[in-house]
Amino acid sequence: MLSNLVAGGDRLLVLALILPVASLMLAFVLGGRHAERIALATLPIGLAVAVAIAAAVLHGDAPLHTDLGGWAPPLGVALRADGLSAIMLLTTAVVMVAVGLFARADFQVPPGTTESRAPFAFWTLLLALWAALNAVFLGEDLFNLYVALELLTFAAIPLVCLDGRAQTLAAALRYLVFALLGSVLYLLGAALLYGAYGTLDIGQLAARIGGDPLEPAALIAAALMTAGLLAKTALFPVHLWLPPAHAGAPAAASALLSALAVKASFFLILRIWFDVMPELLAQMAAQVLAALGAAAILFGGVLALRQARLKMLIAYSTIAQIGYLFLIFPLVASPETAPLAELRNAPGAWTGGALQLVSHACAKAAMFMAAGLIAASLGHDRIRDLGGIGRALPMTLFAFGIAGMSLMGLPPSGGFMAKWLLLLAAMQCGQWWWMLVILAGGLLTGAYLYRVLATALSTQGPSPVLVKPVDRSREWVVLGLALISVLLGLVPLSSFSLIQIGRDVSGIGVGLP
């Protein structure tokens, strides 16, 4: 059974790419109530495909690879799924399923109409976002990835302003133009790489670059692409678009955007730095990225602490959590990590970074959805006035709390394991200053969570008046996702070998000046 999966791995990749596209077109044509039905029917199939890909990668202990149209790169375009891609595909599928189930109550065609705007847009865009994310995680060709990035932008922007308020329109427009600026910089870099090496295939580029000094075009290309992708990832200080966009969108959309959309561009930064030009990792530029990440952790944390609204708080928390991802750049590369790689068979920073990606995705989606439930039942999300919500919505608040626990890095959550591994790696590289940042970030996270939870658990004052009863099944969805983010920390570390497949991280940077 598993061997069959490995043998048919290339078709699985194609399936992962075209399934959401085909569903999207079908939903677009049929419209109305069919859009929701088609999207919901796609969820389990997409999840199964993602699971199958992960199983095939794990069982075959090698990346899956396929040349589209039978044309091998550099002329053709290839798809590839290594361990990290498989994990991202799986995370995407899990979050999609949860958000899809959660959103049913919010995006139903009202009775008496055949089709209405918000449900039609939401369900088609959900599939669109899925297609875009899968294209990003599977792409092996830099231009193909550009198209995938644009797919992502086009799917994400309308989600931001789904409710049509002027504020969200402004947020969406700002997001769009800034994201487009990022895409153009990325495209410019890709063009220059083609000019220097005559191929856009990541594997071939890496082979042609080899150990040689980089072409001048490649250097500026790396800088341009990284900067462009940073703009789309909303790393401090180019995060201007994120708080209003993520906080203004409907809860289900915020969950998708915060948990998944920003991770796609980060994933491409990883691809460029680790797969195309690993030489970069041994340079000052890696320290620059980590320094920005550190600034994001501290700055985002303080700003989250000072927000008046729950969804804004969560949005700033995303800015802080993105910062952690950038700490891995100087920590994976340094030669001192080599002994670690031999010992543990898993460079800590790399595994920690991947764990952070996944656990933040689950936790943040759960938090946004929990905030959505709270806002829907209270009619507002002012943190000051959340008093007593712990009694009214105990399960929602519990889910919010344990998701927050994972963000804060309390054991035994996935966030704790991620931070533990990053701390170990920082110490092993002799770069202890990142440890202080990680810990300070944890303190700030704890502080802003305390603000929410202490208010919500308060017994003073009258019980909150619920304008709308909360749907128990939606609470279960949120709780399930939050539990996943916590349980990730209980998975024995040895089973994270999937993250390593297809990528020889341990060798990167060793022996470089």
């Binding site: 231009f143 644009e150 804004m312």
Partner: protein, 108 residues
Amino acid sequence: MSSVTLFGLCGAALVGLGLYGLIVLPGALRRIIAFNLLGSGVFLLFGVIARRGGGVIAGTGSDPVPQALIITGLVVAFAATALAVALLRRLLQETGRDDWDEDERSDR
């Protein structure tokens, strides 16, 4: 200096010009135009790269792969512009404003 290099430098200058306009110009429309300038500078640079690698097939003097990519890119850029303009027109309709800079604090 050849014409190709000249156009390459022109592309580089257009990128700079587009970046400048995108950053300093007030108002969404002007920024969208500047974005298009920036994009066309990028495409021009890519076209120069294509031209430098051309001249192999009779009848075409340019590497067809970048050409195809540029065509794809042009269509994507148009779609992006259309979405941006649609957002801008809706924003105008709702608020009468043509930018997204002001009123930051009201969301907080």
